[in-house]
Structure formats: structure tokens, C-alpha cells
Amino acid sequence: MIQMNGRDHDWYEGMTIQSLITDLNYTYPILLIRVNGTFIEKENYGNTRVQKGDDVKIIHPIAGG
């Protein structure tokens, strides 16, 4: 289990930020992502491993609509 935006979320071996985005179908083009408080650059989504128990925040910084 990980914390995904403050909610419980299933974890699996080999999970990366990119695979998590794909699993969640997060297609909005602007995402601000932190893992345990550390900001992750877009080019590192594929090589950033998510560990069991991590606190992941994937923020869609839009309040415009």
C-alpha cells in the first residue's frame, strides 16, 4: 500500500511514477509530482521507483475549468 494524494492505494513490485500515472489514467498535461516531499521532474517519471509505503502526491494544478 502507498499513500496516493492522501488515500490508500495498492502497490505492486516495479511501480514507477510513470506506471502509476498510466494506471490512474491521469492524462492532464500539467502534473506536479512529489514522492515523500521530493519534487520529481517529468523526464524522471519512468525511472522513479515508488516504494511500498511511499507518500505520493500527483497534483493537477488547475482550479480554472
Binding site: N5, G6, N25, P29, I62, A63, G64, G65
Partner: protein, 728 residues
């Protein structure tokens, strides 16, 4: 491809004109974003007056929507209806409007009493009319009274003349009328870009959802493009006053026409944002390529796209018909396309040389402005129609006929669901097979609105009036129609599914004018980001964002450059603050100070809005929209109304029942589960409403407290007079 107006046609229009009033004036020069003058016109007796705007009004109402509300308040009384002569249409651009160095700075705000809500409506619109009117000497145009016959009002800001003229032969529909009047008033081709026309269309005469088109001349396409003040039926008021058009002509727009105190600061802030748009837009929202329509595919991915009258939130054909790739095939993208000078975001897209397939203009090749996200979702997916050509056709006719695509989409979707559920039949619709996906029937409904015949006249009165009629005349189940009729205060919902975002349910219903998302759009903050989990968090957001976004309407600004491009600095902003985009908020504070010479900060900015927001709330109370019933939301905005809706997301609702409500769904019947879900969601909404009212300084009945009005400086005697009876 533009409509070509022959010289003979111009001669015919000129020879049929009858001048009712003409006068000369000396245009007041703009100083620090203001002229401090209002142009007042009464069409009943052709009175024209130049009013000074008092300093206290400038301080408390700022401009734009604030000026509109203040003028309207003075012009009407508690019993005024939308079609009474004393109702007004007020147009005001606001102090920042007219600068050319920062994107999105040419907006006008239009205020009136709405035919569809019976209370105050405001609409934010692009096009050149507002800034050109300000440079012609006026911060606001206040129109009252009713003409006997169709008239136009012409303001020449260079010559300093105003005229009211009977205009019997001009076309009513906007795509032709804007071209006719431009041809008539322009000295030559170059002069056309100095003209802006406000107009409506035939359907505004037969419906309550009429809009106003504000034009801007596109030199490249050699056509008047149209931007819409869409919401709430102001076009219906316009045609009821027998106004065919307002025309302003002003030559001489320059970078310093707004006479700001510190133009260098404005340039500096503007350059920063232009660079962000240049560097990031292609990889972020692609506003320059497809405009607001970029959201269509995304909304479907997040289960937020309204499908079949807001029953469902996604559709397999969404990407194919309204996705970015599909849009790029039909939209012209190879040139800058902004609705005011200097807007590098350039989201005002168009499809050119679109050949119309139906209606009175069938066969014409026309420029279709848009489509915006709201239009594709409203007339498309929400009606079960996934066909981009239909969207373009419907978009064009809505604009030229002068009806709001959002209301047209939502009311058509409602009629379709009523038809499919047997609430109405072909006898009621007078032959229209109004099933979801039937684009031919939907187009015919729109043409009927324009002609004023058939079921179009009934539908054109909006969801609320349709509901009442179906219950009264056809024995419909009122509770069902209250649940599925997507309106609040009489205004049709804009195009987002709010079922899974309690905050957005409030963002739609706990509003001044009705469910238009321009007060607060909190779906991602709430549902996806989970940044505002508690009632207090949501209430804080439902205080901040409506106040912040009201500010755009005070200044004559577009909100899109605020958060449709993300600055690098936002990466270091954590928590809900990121949604505010602090760097861009500071840009706006800097712009305001640089234009006006005042010295506000972010807190004062919110206070400016809070005064006007509360004034509008009190205005609603004055007009009889009082208490929690005024903020009623249809259950479909909160949760699944029907069995099929529940079953389509059964796993989600079962999980929520277990985790959020604490009840095990195992062994429960479908009806039991639906009731448990509904009771919970309705109680959540009620609790949210109470918390929001408290945060806004209102009573549990939604009345602004006297002490609160005093604290924020909106304690004008006439305001207190309205609320004080509720505290005796």
C-alpha cells in the same frame, strides 16, 4: 470565409434609417484606466446623458461587473422583471481592460436582470467593444427603456458623436449583421478593425437564452469574428428592448491608450507571461492550438464529461470526436488568434470555410468561432452526439441566432431524457424524435427557436419552465424532473459532472447567478488531488476562489492566462496554494497597481471582490432570491438519480458506502443502496452549505450579516436596508 456585403445593400440600409437622436460630445481622456464617465441611454424617450461616476462608487465597485451591478441597482426596484422598461443592460470593461501588454486584457462585463433566473446575471465577454468604448470616453454604457421599433446605437469615439437610429432593414442574425454594419460604418478596409458591433439574433426573440455577440475584426480572414456574452439571456433582454445593434468606432488604440501610471511595469509583467506561454503552452494545455476545447478529451478521461444529460461522465468516442487531434483537423491554427490585442495565449479558435448543411444559410461557407469546450460538451456529448461537424454547425447557428450554447445543450439534453423516459412524446415535441444522439432533431429544435415555432418555443424557455409545463400539462413526476433537470436558480448547468466533488456541487449551487463554473471550479482540487478534504477546507476554497475570480470581472480580464499556463515557480508551491498560482496572482496585483497608481496587495484584492460579491448577494435578496431554496441543487449534480446511473458506477458507490458511510452494501437491494447513498450525499451538501455560509459571513439562511457588511466596507444604507429586516 466572410459574408460579403454589396454597396447596394449598404445604400438600402442608409436610406431606410431614421435618426431619432444625435448629439456631439467631447470624449473624456482615459486616466489611470478610467474615464469616470457613464453613457446613459434611455430608449423609451431617446434620452442621452453623460453621468459622472462618484469616487465612492469607484472605490467600492472598481469597474466592470461592479459598475454593472451598481448601475442596475440604481435603475430597477424590487419588483422589476426582465422585460420591464426599467431593466437595464450595462456594459463595462473595467480599469485594466484595454492594456495590450498582458494576455487576456480586453474583456467586457455585461449585467442585466435575467429572463431565465429572474435575478441579476453577469457575463464576461471578449471582442473589442468594451476597450474601444472606454477609449471613446466611457467606463460604462447603461441602457434603459424600450424602443418602439428596431434601433441601433452608434458611438464614434473619434468624432465625438452618438446617434440612435431606427434600423428597419438590417439583418437580425449576427454573422450577417456584424458585417453589414462594419461595411456601413468603415471608411475603407483598413478602417474595419476600428469597429466593434454588439448584436444578438432571431432566436433571442423567441427564447429566454438569448446571448450577445461582441465582434472584433480579423484582418487576415477579412471577417468580423464573434465572442459571446452567453449566460442568462441578456440577448433576450436586448431584443426585447428592440436593439438590433450597438456599434462603436474608435481609431487610435496604442500601448498606452489606457494611460497607466507605470507602463514599464506592465511590459515587464507581460513579457514574463508571454515567455511562459511561448515556452510551455505546447507541452501544457495547447491553448494556442485548440483553445479551451483541449479539455474535452481530458474531462472524459477523468469521468467528468457530461454524457446524456449528465448521467455519465465519459464516452468511448470522446477522443475521436473532440480530442486534440480531431480538433486540429478542423481548427485554423497557423496564425495568432486573440480576441484583444496582445494576447499571446490566442485561444479564440475558428473553423474557416465551413459549409453549412442545414437551415436558412445552408450552402454558405462561414467562419465558425470556437468551438469552446463548453460547446462541444454541451451540444455534443451531453446530448449523446459525437460528431464534430454537427458541433460546428450547431455552434455557428447558436451564435448567429443569438443563443447560449451551454443552456441550449443542457436544455436539449433534458428534453431528450424526458423523451426517452416517456415524460413527453412526439405529440408534445410536435414531431421531433428527441432521442439522445439524434443530431437532426437537435438542429431542427434550434431552427425552431429561431423561427419561433414548434417545440423550440417551449424548449427555449429553459429547463425550469419546461419542467413546470411537463408537470402541469402532461402529468410528469415532479420529483424526477427536479432531480434530472440540471438548473439552479433557473440557469442551466455548465458542462462538468460534479457528482464526485462535493466542493464543486457547492461551486455550482452556492453561487450568485447560478451554476456557471466561473465562480469556482474545484473538481481537481477536491476529487483528484484530495487537497480540501474537510468541510472547512472546502468552505475556505468556496470563499477564496469565488472572490478571486470575481476580481477578473471587476477589471475586464480573462481568467484563462491565470492558470492555463503553469509557471516554473509553481513547482515549489505545496498544498492547495498551488491551485492559486501565486506568481500569477502577484502579476495581477502588479498590473492593477501599475494601471491605477493604487497600492493594493493580495488581501486587498480579495476584499475588493468581497464587497461586490456580497453586494450581488444582497441584490438577489432584494429581487426575492432568498434562503436556502435559492441555492437548491438538482440531485443529479450530487449523485446517481436512476438505477442505470447507479449501476454504471456500482463498484464506486459500494466502496464509498463501506468506507465513507460505514454501511456494508452486502445484501442490500439496489433501491436500499440508492437511498443510503442519496441520504448521505444530500446531508453532506447541506453541511457544506452551512459551512460555506458561515465562512462567507452569512446566516444559516444565506443572509449577509450586518456586521460582516460593515467589516468589508459594503455597508451602504441601501444595502443594509435590504438585509436588516431579516435580523429583527
Amino acid at each position: 470565409m466572410s459574408v460579403v456585403i454589396a454597396k447596394e445593400r449598404v445604400d438600402e440600409m442608409k436610406s431606410s434609417r431614421r435618426v431619432l437622436k444625435t448629439l456631439e460630445y467631447t470624449p473624456t481622456k482615459v486616466q489611470k484606466g478610467y474615464t469616470d464617465k457613464t453613457l446613459y441611454i434611455n430608449l423609451t424617450d431617446n434620452q442621452v446623458e453623460f453621468k459622472d461616476i462618484p469616487a465612492v462608487v469607484k472605490e467600492k465597485f472598481i469597474g466592470g461587473k461592479g459598475y454593472g451591478l451598481w448601475h442596475l441597482w440604481k435603475g430597477v426596484n424590487a419588483d422589476t422583471k426582465w422585460n420591464d422598461p426599467e431593466n437595464e443592460i450595462v456594459i463595462s470593461p473595467g480599469p485594466i481592460a484595454g492594456i495590450t501588454q498582458y494576455p487576456g486584457a480586453g474583456k467586457s462585463l455585461v449585467v442585466s436582470i435575467s429572463p431565465i433566473t429572474g435575478t441579476v446575471i453577469d457575463s464576461n465577454v471578449g471582442g473589442h467593444f468594451g476597450p474601444l468604448m472606454k477609449f471613446s470616453g466611457f467606463d460604462a454604457l447603461e441602457i434603459q427603456g424600450k424602443a418602439e421599433k428596431d434601433v441601433v446605437v452608434f458611438i464614434d469615439g473619434n468624432k465625438g458623436t452618438i446617434s440612435i437610429e431606427e434600423a428597419p432593414v438590417e439583418t437580425v442574425d449576427s454573422h450577417i449583421l456584424a458585417e453589414e454594419l462594419t461595411e456601413m460604418y468603415a471608411d475603407d478596409e483598413e478602417d474595419k478593425r476600428h469597429i466593434s458591433v454588439v448584436s444578438s439574433g432571431q432566436a433571442a426573440e423567441h427564447s429566454y437564452i438569448g446571448l450577445l455577440n461582441f465582434s472584433f475584426y480579423d484582418k487576415r480572414k477579412k471577417a468580423q469574428r464573434l465572442k459571446q456574452a452567453g449566460r442568462g439571456g441578456i440577448g433576450t433582454v436586448f431584443r426585447d428592448k428592440k436593439i438590433k445593434a450597438l456599434i462603436v468606432k474608435y481609431k487610435g488604440v496604442k500601448g498606452d491608450s489606457n494611460a497607466p501610471v507605470d507602463v514599464e511595469k506592465i511590459k515587464q509583467v507581460g513579457m514574463k507571461l508571454h515567455k511562459e506561454v511561448h515556452d510551455f503552452d505546447d507541452e501544457q494545455c495547447q491553448m494556442r492550438q485548440v483553445g479551451t476545447a483541449n479539455l474535452f478529451e481530458t474531462m472524459s478521461d477523468y469521468d467528468l464529461l457530461p454524457v446524456n444529460n449528465f448521467q455519465y461522465g465519459s464516452h468511448k468516442d470522446a477522443a475521436k470526436t473532440g480530442g486534440r487531434a480531431a480538433l486540429k483537423k478542423v481548427l485554423q491554427q497557423d496564425e495568432p488568434d486573440g480576441c484583444w490585442f496582445g494576447c499571446s495565449m490566442s485561444c479564440a479558435k475558428s473553423a474557416t470555410a465551413y459549409e453549412l448543411q442545414t437551415g436558412p444559410y445552408k450552402g454558405q461557407k462561414v467562419v465558425v468561432d470556437g468551438p469552446e469546450y463548453e460547446t462541444i460538451a454541451g451540444v455534443g456529448s451531453n446530448c449523446g452526439i459525437f460528431d464534430i461537424d454537427y458541433v460546428l454547425e450547431c455552434n455557428f447557428y447558436c451564435d448567429t441566432y443569438g443563443v447560449d450554447t451551454i443552456s441550449f445543450g443542457t436544455l436539449t439534453a433534458f428534453a431528450m431524457e424526458c423523451f426517452e423516459r416517456g415524460v413527453i412524446d412526439k405529440e408534445v415535441t410536435q414531431g421531433l424524435e428527441l432521442t439522445f444522439g439524434n443530431k437532426e432533431a437537435a438542429m431542427e429544435l434550434l431552427h425552431q427557436m429561431a423561427r419561433g415555432d414548434g417545440f423550440g418555443v417551449i424548449a427555449g424557455k429553459g429547463v425550469r419552465e419546461m419542467r413546470k409545463l411537463f408537470v402541469r400539462e402532461y402529468g410528469a413526476d415532479e420529483n424526477l424532473l427536479l432531480d434530472i433537470g440540471m438548473e439552479s436558480k433557473g440557469l442551466e448547468y455548465s458542462q462538468y459532472v460534479s457528482k464526485e466533488s462535493l466542493a464543486q456541487q457547492g461551486g455550482y449551487a452556492l453561487t450568485n447567478k447560478g451554476p456557471q463554473h466561473d465562480e469556482a471550479w474545484l473538481i481537481f482540487m477536491d476529487m483528484v488531488n484530495n487537497q480540501i478534504p474537510s468541510f472547512d477546507d472546502k468552505a475556505e476554497a468556496l470563499h477564496y476562489f469565488p472572490m478571486f475570480r470575481t476580481w477578473f470581472g471587476l477589471q475586464g480580464l480573462c481568467k484563462l492566462p491565470w492558470n492555463d499556463v503553469e509557471p516554473i515557480s509553481n513547482r515549489s508551491v505545496e498544498g492547495p496554494e498551488a491551485a492559486k498560482v501565486p506568481e500569477h496572482v502577484q502579476n495581477y496585483v502588479d498590473l492593477y497597481n501599475a494601471v491605477t497608481g493604487n497600492n493594493i496587495d493580495k488581501q486587498e484584492m480579495i476584499l475588493q471582490s468581497e464587497r461586490v460579491y456580497n453586494f450581488q448577494k444582497v441584490f438577489n435578496i432584494r429581487l426575492g432570491v432568498v434562503g436556502i431554496e435559492g441555492d437548491r441543487a438538482p440531485y443529479r449534480s450530487m449523485g446517481p438519480v436512476t438505477k442505470e446511473e447507479f449501476l454504471s458506477r456500482e463498484d464506486r458507490y459500494d466502496k464509498q458506502m463501506k468506507e465513507n458511510i460505514g454501511i456494508d452494501p452486502e445484501g442490500k437491494s439496489l433501491e436500499e443502496k440508492m437511498k443510503i447513498t442519496r441520504d448521505f450525499r444530500e446531508s453532506q451538501f447541506a453541511q457544506l452549505r452551512d459551512t460555506v455560509y458561515k465562512r462567507r459571513g452569512w446566516t444559516v439562511e444565506g443572509i449577509p450579516k450586518v456586521e460582516h457588511l460593515q467589516n468589508i466596507g459594503m455597508d451602504l444604507p441601501e444595502v443594509l436596508e435590504v438585509v436588516q429586516p431579516y435580523f429583527k
